[in-house]
Symmetry: C2
Subunit: 198 residues, 2 copies
């Protein structure tokens, strides 16, 4: 494949992922004005990966892999849509829907990059490596912080309780004691301030 | 500084940069529905940095530095606002406004990260290194592609001509022949299709 052919495929993919800006999540941005979209969420996680990696329990963590993982982890939602973290029914066929999306989307790219992104995405989904667990911890704590800041309207609409939030976030401790302490602090403040149902 | 103190500062910064989601640029997203914001733009550039680095003329380019640079390059707009690429008056005091913003914003972080982000931002602004030039090339070509896709409404509103677009983008060739050929192709197609004034 010539460089021009590769660039043509890469640009087709780059144009395709503009759709990330129109996939809305079930979390409002901090100022409460509207729901956050996937491009914004992924950007926020990338900045967190850049700044918070020192809080990983395992100092051998690969920071670049975490950064790449958070950048690509939600691309599959271009086809599969956002599945709310607390939507048990939606999670039943989530992997199937997202895997089909990964196959279609990543296949737009030249083979080597298709394979790299697909492997990164699968590694993230499987939550077995320290990098995947750290990326996943960021993916949990970011909406927790936003919900706290925006007054928890979406939590209230969906009858989310502190126990549900606790259960969703407690795995953070496996990869970062510091982030888990911070998450607990936010959960406690949310309960105290009536933002989250005890 | 303890780990908790560092994390507290880092989280304050991470909360502050949520404002990137509310800083609107003078470019519409591909589907024409609305203007793009800085978080989305920075996300898009990060994905381009991840995928297009092989097209740099200089194979010694540091891909991670480019990635970090595009992630942080527009943070200063939280205070300084977006200055339109074709706004000559706005560019007169742009550096002054943005430098003040950099000082305030990056100072929220622990010293080491404050220094790292400030240096990365200055390096980007100075456009002297190959990484800064490549990041800047992505920063030019991304809105070019979006304007082509969205029908160039913002170009038309601002009486932007192909010569202005050409002049803004020609520096891409310094760091990437491939990207510059692609940019020229998009400019030509934009003129042919009446999206851009010849």
């Amino acid at each position: 494949m010539t460089d021009v052919e590769k660039l043509t495929k890469q640009m087709e993919f780059i144009i395709e992922i503009d759709k990330m800006k129109s996939i809305y999540r079930r979390t409002k941005i901090a100022d409460k004005s509207r729901l956050e979209n996937d491009a914004e969420h992924s950007y926020h996680l990338a900045m967190m990966a850049l700044l918070l990696i020192e809080h990983a329990n395992d100092s051998n963590i690969d920071p670049i892999k975490v950064l790449k993982m958070v950048l690509i982890h939600d691309l599959v939602e271009i086809d599969a849509g956002d599945t709310y973290a607390y939507d048990a029914a939606g999670h039943q066929d989530k992997f199937e829907r997202e895997n089909a999306a990964a196959q279609r989307l990543f296949s737009i790219l030249p083979d080597e990059q298709r394979n790299e992104l697909n492997e990164l995405w699968l590694e993230f989904e499987e939550r077995q490596t320290v990098e995947a667990k750290f990326a996943s911890a960021l993916d949990s704590i970011q909406p927790l912080i936003l919900n706290y800041l925006n007054g928890g309207e979406v939590w209230k609409e969906n009858n989310i309780t502190s126990e549900m939030v606790w259960n969703r976030n407690k795995k953070i401790g496996e990869v970062s004691e510091g982030l888990w302490l911070y998450a607990q602090h936010i959960i406690r403040k949310s309960i105290e301030q009536g933002i989250l149902q005890a």
